[in-house]
Amino acid sequence: MNELLEKIELCIEFGKINNAAVYPPNMRGQDGADELTKQALEEGISPDDVLNKALIPGMDKVGQKFSENKIFVPQMLMSAKAMSSAMKHIQPFFKSGQVKQKGTFIIGTVSGDLHDIGKNLVAMMIEGSGWKVIDLGVDVKSEQYIEALKENPGGAVGLSALLTTTMVNMEQIVIDIKSFSENAKVLIGGAPVNTDFCQRIGADYYSPDPQGAVAYLNSLAV
């Protein structure tokens, strides 16, 4: 395998953003995901290869370590930041159609609910696995999800709710989304929600954690 790609993968895995970044201490002074990605593209490595042979495998490893409780969220966040700094360089190729993203994921905490720590984590990990993520924030109403779907046809939607009194809002939102676009996949999550509830309200998938959501989305992308 290409040495440069390996280096980029390492930067992602250990969260080395760019040359100036002080984290991680043992990579101080070295080039990061930012510089190395730029260099790779300049050397003629295809953006597709950078994405699929370095960035995504790097994030996969991070995700794996996180699942096994070997690293903490801040470490994962550093990797996500490194990933973003690389993605900047790949972005233009998405637009030109040269590289394909897995898909678009629209996420938000449902109306009436302000809890967003969990939702943010989910958004970040899904982005790290190669999806375009549109984060609508908190207290999000049906129309906002639908608006986002209109702008991103074929996107999947994620709803988060932490209150027993807002999980009920999920139901209406699912109905609204499905009546706008029958085939749009809707994922739900949050502390009071579970698989039963998911089935009852006609959503497509419940996951107790970001990893499950990533796995499900990736199965769609195949």
Binding site: N69, K70, F72, V73, P74, L77, G112, L114, D116, I117, N120, L121, G137, V138, D139, L163, T164, T165, M167, V168, N169, P192, F197
Partner: protein, 458 residues
């Protein structure tokens, strides 16, 4: 920092059921007066407040409180606190919250007259201000309904006033996820403290006006969020332990402003507050597993004056409705502690020893809650020149105790966390004690669109 000395100076004097400054309530509870009482917490099951008719919501609360108090009489309770922690709608439309308080109070009063059951309502409106992002902590209109609920709810029977306020959360959420202790301390010792001063000034004034008791606040959204994240293994336990200590001063400000206790259950800074100020506190441990799992199920009881289950939905379990079930569990827990109290100080300390030692070995978050740790850390806190200094001192002392305990083998070592102890120490040490220096240090590191500093008087 008003408190310069500890109200309780020795670990041996910090125990459950007794506080230097007990709080007497209208229906005869003496909280911290040599008895520990259950504090029952409950919430609605899956339902939409807006779509259900109003009476269905009221009916839920009537059912919950009737069921719990019937059972309290049946189990020969000598007192109980019921918390109404409102859901958003009940604060947005204060009349809804007030109507619920009325119903609760009616049932309390009935049971008092008929059976002599002593019960009291803690009214906890929620902090609506976070609905606006960035929040306008001082200038928002959302303060109005909150204060209306406080005032009219107090008159309707909400005799203990509390809130779980959220000043500083704009910064703390991200700080927790990034494990940035400098930002986190900034959110507490600068933003939190300033917001508490403003907010608790108002609440204490309402309590005076309505002749009710200003209870206290809780750093739930900070300390317990850290704990929940640590329980999910998302952040290091040692980070959560230090974050907990960092929440003490902001909650302390409520007492400086005139809060009398019991402070609110869902943070674990209570023991520090009790040591520093002598007010009675509410704590939650194993019996709040319904609301969140935790590494401190027993140690949490060490110096509690109220013993709470944090929150349980009104759903049906095999034995009956969940709030009644949880009331029974709290009742047996407190019966045990009260039995020790009957036996005198030695029995109390003996039971406390079991509570403490059974948890402290396993987790730094439990470790810092032992009466010994609490007193040592509190001593450092009151030495602080100002809130920032106090927080730094408390956190560093906590880290020192944790390190020593790991070395001595009295606290389980988790290798994955070793590096964090070092990082935390140097990060905390690098914080300037001067507030404006601290502001300058932090500003460039945060997303400034998320916070409006002028809303904190900065």
């Amino acid at each position: 920092m008003k408190f310069k000395e500890l109200a309780i100076k020795n670990p041996g004097d910090l125990y459950f059921g007794t506080a230097p400054n007990p709080v007497k309530t209208p229906r005869g509870l003496v909280i911290g007066g040599g008895n520990i009482y259950p504090e029952l917490n409950f919430t609605l099951p899956e339902m939409s407040i807006n779509k259900t008719d109003y009476s269905a919501v009221l009916k839920q609360y009537r059912e919950i409180v009737t069921g719990a108090l019937d059972h309290a009489v049946h189990l020969y309770s000598d007192g109980i606190v019921l918390e109404l922690e409102t859901l958003i709608e009940m604060t947005q439309i204060p009349q809804m919250g007030i109507d619920i308080v009325k119903i609760m109070n009616e049932i309390c009063e009935e049971n008092f007259i008929k059976h002599g059951l002593k019960s009291e309502i803690r009214l906890t409106p929620n902090d609506l201000r976070e609905f606006e992002r960035p929040p306008k902590q001082r200038t928002t209109k959302l303060i109005e309904p909150m204060m209306e609920l406080f005032e009219r709810g107090a008159l309707a029977g909400g005799n203990l006033l509390s809130i779980e306020s959220t000043g500083g959360k704009e910064i703390s959420d991200d700080a927790l996820m990034m494990c940035d202790i400098k930002q986190f301390i900034f959110s507490q010792a600068v933003l939190g403290v300033r917001d508490m001063e403003m907010l608790w000034g108002k609440i204490v004034a309402i309590a005076k006006k309505t002749a009710t008791i200003p209870g206290g606040d809780t750093a739930c959204g900070f300390g317990n969020t850290a704990m929940v994240l640590a329980e999910k293994k998302y952040i290091p336990k040692v980070f959560a332990a230090v974050a907990r200590i960092a929440t003490v001063v902001r909650t302390l400000v409520a007492v400086e402003q005139g809060a009398k206790g019991p402070d609110k259950d869902c943070g674990y800074e209570g023991p520090f507050l009790k040591a520093i100020t002598g007010i009675p506190i509410s704590m939650e441990g194993k019996t709040s597993a319904c609301a969140h799992l935790s590494p401190l199920g027993n140690v949490a009881a060490a110096c509690a004056d109220l013993w709470s289950n944090e929150s349980v939905q009104n759903v049906k379990l095999l034995a009956g409705m969940a709030p009644t079930v949880y009331y029974e569990q709290l009742q047996y827990d407190t019966r045990l502690m009260n039995e020790a109290i009957k036996g005198g100080k030695q029995d109390i300390l003996q039971l406390q020893k079991l509570f403490v030692n059974s948890d402290t070995f396993y987790d730094p978050q439990a470790f810092i809650l032992s009466p010994k740790s609490v007193i040592e850390i509190s001593k450092e806190i009151v030495k602080g020149e100002n809130y920032i200094d106090a927080t730094k001192r408390g956190c560093l002392k906590g880290l020192e105790l944790i390190e020593n305990a790991i070395m001595e083998g009295t606290l389980l070592r988790d290798e994955k966390e070793d590096v964090w102890i070092e990082m935390l120490k140097s990060d905390i040490a690098s914080i300037p004690e001067n507030e404006s220096d601290f502001v300058e240090l932090i500003l460039p590191t945060i997303d400034q669109s998320k916070v409006i500093l002028s809303e904190y008087g900065l």
